[in-house]
Symmetry: C2
Subunit: 549 residues, 2 copies
């Protein structure tokens, strides 16, 4: 063991943080430790005060606790010494952002701000900045801002400037007290290294940055709100660091906290979905990676930049250097199936998932007679509309929960096919699917249905913790070959990343049936999603009115 | 007791038969006995052979057993003597029909036919004659048959000639072996009196008869199928008897079976929904009676005959003499709520209905954010299409079964409003609603929602067994005033029928919200029901194909 070299990947997720120790040479994962965040997702009350709907906060202390609880433990359990760890990479949820003082101390950790909700970390799924996003989109369209098409024509309420502007709108005192506004990803790297940086991935996908065009203009920000005019220069950074670059060495304080060597190279921050691409062994266009959990992220490399309406974004070098990285997504997936279980089987144990899968697998495509729109949590791509909602059609007196379960899986697969067809319609080939994440690991019926619906083979990433592995791979690049790692991510991919031998292949007859059903899905998708009937939005408005009244 | 006079009403329902003994002078119900049919609804297997989908049969022996098990029992339990019973009326489900020999013996009771499914009673909800109904409608439209508009423009697969023709199509040997083809209602009266008659109600609503125009032409039947040309003359009867007329006296055999006096006047047969109108005290236009159970029937009197597209039928004297009786209906109501309970609470006890009602009552209109199309069992009126199916829109990850329960109730109420607006659009005023049946008795939330949605007051029929009471009232008319009854149904109504004092009145603010939601319902109703998107039919076709394949 003693002559082997390792890199550490730390994955900061929604509910927990995870450290994985990986051998540089082979990609072998020799240890894993998970820390469930003490404060988790703060979406109901904060220090006893009720939060409005659609809020989701986190406590940044949970990120530091993750390092402290997992890193020493993974060293101890694996028998790897601090000297053998040649680099560290992290990945984070995004856009998860917070306000800090000039030294990087989160405002929410200060007594005077701890009861101000806007002083806390806004988690990626904080959806309360929709009014700001709407105005950003209106203005960008009116001005014909070129950057808008890099975001598929719509800037999301989840993203950086929507959240920043919500702080300014609702708590200007917090906005003005914040010296720095930044992603949690960059914040944790700052904490680890003592050096403030901004990574290209979150800057590109969430903060309207492009390596050729730079950031969104101050002029646009000024028209949005005069107080925002200089936010980039005053509270952000114009220097954006490429992925894999070394942000700095681990600080003395952080080394004490993690039992690692001071000076251990730490990679520039990165994002969970994006780092999974090299972890799955993908280094070229045409291979779409699906990160499948409560929601699904779709990552695709392109040789050129194409405007694709309704995707999340395209960023040059945003996933791997030398390629345009395309991202799309479905805002509901595993959480829709969890809804079904919670709603139909409130008292069932964990085995209900296996039972449902087994019973649903006995049905043929279309045999349930049901069709759903998978918008229980809105639509992230192709329509980019959080105010859409779920639809089920075809119910009869004989309809069973198992049939609904299968129809929901099918609808999620149709949603992915809609994304694939949207990519292809705008010139980006999708030849092969790759998958990782809990849902891909656990639900073989779902994976087969995805293959049948899309008519494409699907491979699984070899690692069941692809994000942490991908983060570790960028840690190896930060170390460089001279430091025991690799000089580029492309050197790391064939050694550390890869897919399993098992392949899901489409069943031809099923694919035909699903293609007929997909046409029906598209008709409903367009009718309810493209303005022919905005009933979903009106129902939501009536609901909000009745709850308030 | 000994100087009081009584009439007996016998209600032949879907799952059971019921005898109610009613005082002529006051309408007081002095005794009730129920017989659950031994063979119930035969819809899975018949003598060990599997039945195709959509079949629903009954055993005519269950009707005779009803008389034998309930009538002596109700006499015994009430202390009423056979001499005090001055008349009998029956009501039946419809169109529930069977083939018999010339003497009225059902073919299915004969050893040589007992394994032929077509020899049995086809229950009203036998839905397997859709191909025949489709062809009847095509031909009627092509020929411009005047009678078609008396059925709202569509003849149903549930009705008499659809079922007759299905026998001929699928089992010609049964068709040719049948001397008589008739409604169960007329069959039981034949059994009771020894005299074969045909009642105006089922002839009018189900068998294309009108007191002015007579039956559908032999010519039409011949073009449909040459073998059908003389079916009316050969296997039915051209003489149709008005409601309330005496069919004959109770036969000696039947008197022995029921412990009643031989010769007791028996009224011409009638139908459950139709006899409920006088039972509720209705004797004039403008008052719509809803018979609310697994499905809902809507009965309305009109002074004139108006063509109303999409209703079930209009028959002169079909409910009460001197009026045009209009019928419409919803094919799913209580059975949709039963589906919800069965699907979401498979292990819950009977109390779950009360729990759901209480929890759903705490929601405001529109607060659940959901909207449904109540077509779990197809649409009987206004669209007249059994191949439509249920739809739910507005689902989110927070959607609960209670919210779905409330949305389903609301959708059923919207379905009734669509029927009311359809009547009014074609010139028939609906000023006030009356209700009877299990769902009206049990579910006060549902009744309030119906009042709020329709914006109209709703009264409940005084009797909780309105059909049997109505049948008894016609029994009193069959007896005539000379025989201790009444000369007309209008004499009986103020004495024996009536409504309760309790009235559900619409809440103005709720009505406004529901009117906004009803516009959304109408948009979905028309989109999915009038051909803009026939996805429901295509899903059904794919389902059938996959089940068969």
């Amino acid at each position: 063991m003693s002559d082997r070299k390792f890199v550490l990947g730390v994955d900061f997720g929604t509910e927990s943080g995870r450290a994985v120790l990986v051998e540089v040479e082979t990609g072998e994962e020799v240890g894993t430790e998970v820390y469930p965040y003490a404060d988790g997702v703060i979406d109901h009350t904060l220090n006893g005060q009720e939060l409005p709907p659609d809020w989701a906060l986190q406590n940044p202390e949970d990120y530091l606790r993750t390092l402290n609880r997992t890193v020493p433990a993974v060293l101890a359990s694996s028998g790897v010494t601090a000297e053998q760890v040649v680099g560290i990479g992290i990945d984070f949820t995004s856009c998860t952002m917070l306000p800090t003082d000039a030294a990087g101390a989160p405002l929410c950790t200060k007594p005077e701000w701890k009861d101000a909700p806007h002083a806390w970390v806004k988690l990626w799924k904080h959806h309360a900045a929709q009014p700001e996003a709407d105005k950003i989109n209106q203005l960008a369209q009116a001005r014909g801002e070129a950057w808008l098409q890099r975001y598929g024509g719509k800037y999301s309420s989840e993203w950086f400037f929507s959240k920043v502007w919500q702080i300014l709108d609702e708590a200007p005192e917090v906005y003005y007290a914040a010296d720095r506004l930044l992603e949690g990803a960059d914040w944790i790297v700052w904490q680890m290294t003592g050096r403030e940086t901004r990574n290209l991935c979150t800057a590109g996908y969430k903060a309207i940055y492009d390596k050729r065009a730079g950031f969104v203009s101050n002029e646009f920000l000024r028209v949005l709100d005069p107080a925002l005019e200089h936010v980039i220069d005053q509270k952000m950074m114009r220097t954006v660091s490429p992925l894999g670059e070394c942000a700095g060495g681990l600080s003395r304080e952080m080394a004490a906290l993690t039992w690692l060597r001071p000076g251990t190279p730490v990679a520039i921050a990165n994002v969970d979905a994006h780092v999974s691409v090299p972890a799955a062994g993908i280094a070229e266009p045409g291979k779409l990676l699906m990160i499948m959990g409560t929601s699904i992220c779709h990552m695709l490399l392109g040789a050129t930049s194409q405007p694709v309406p309704g995707m999340c974004g395209v960023v040059e070098d945003g996933i791997l250097p030398g390629f345009f990285g395309y991202e799309a997504g479905q805002s509901g997936a595993g959480d829709i199936l969890a809804w079904l279980v919670r709603t139909f089987y409130p008292e069932a144990g964990a085995a209900v998932h296996q039972d449902l899968e087994a019973q649903a697998a006995a049905l043929k495509p279309g045999e349930c007679g049901l069709l759903a729109l998978d918008w229980w949590n809105g639509n992230r791509s192709v329509l980019v509309d959080t105010h859409l909602s779920g639809l089920l059609v075809g119910a009869t007196l004989d309809t069973t929960p198992v049939e609904i379960y299968r129809a929901l899986i099918e609808s999620i697969a149709f949603g992915t096919r809609a994304i694939i067809e949207n990519f292809e319609q705008y010139g980006l080939a999708v030849n092969e699917l790759y998958a990782c994440g809990g849902m891909a690991e656990k639900n073989t019926l779902l994976m087969q249905i995805f293959s049948d619906v899309t008519g494409r083979p699907i491979k699984l990433a070899r690692s069941s913790q692809a994000s942490a592995l991908g983060a570790a791979m960028f840690g190896a690049v930060a170390a460089g070959s001279g430091g025991g790692g690799y000089d580029t991510i492309y050197d790391a991919i064939p050694r550390m990343g890869g897919a399993r031998e098992q392949v899901y292949t489409p069943h031809e007859a099923n694919h035909r049936t699903y293609t007929a059903l997909f046409q029906e899905y598209v008709a409903l998708h367009d009718h309810f999603g493209r303005g022919s009937n905005d009933v979903m939005k009106r129902l939501r408005a009536i609901k909000a009115e009745q709850r308030a009244g």
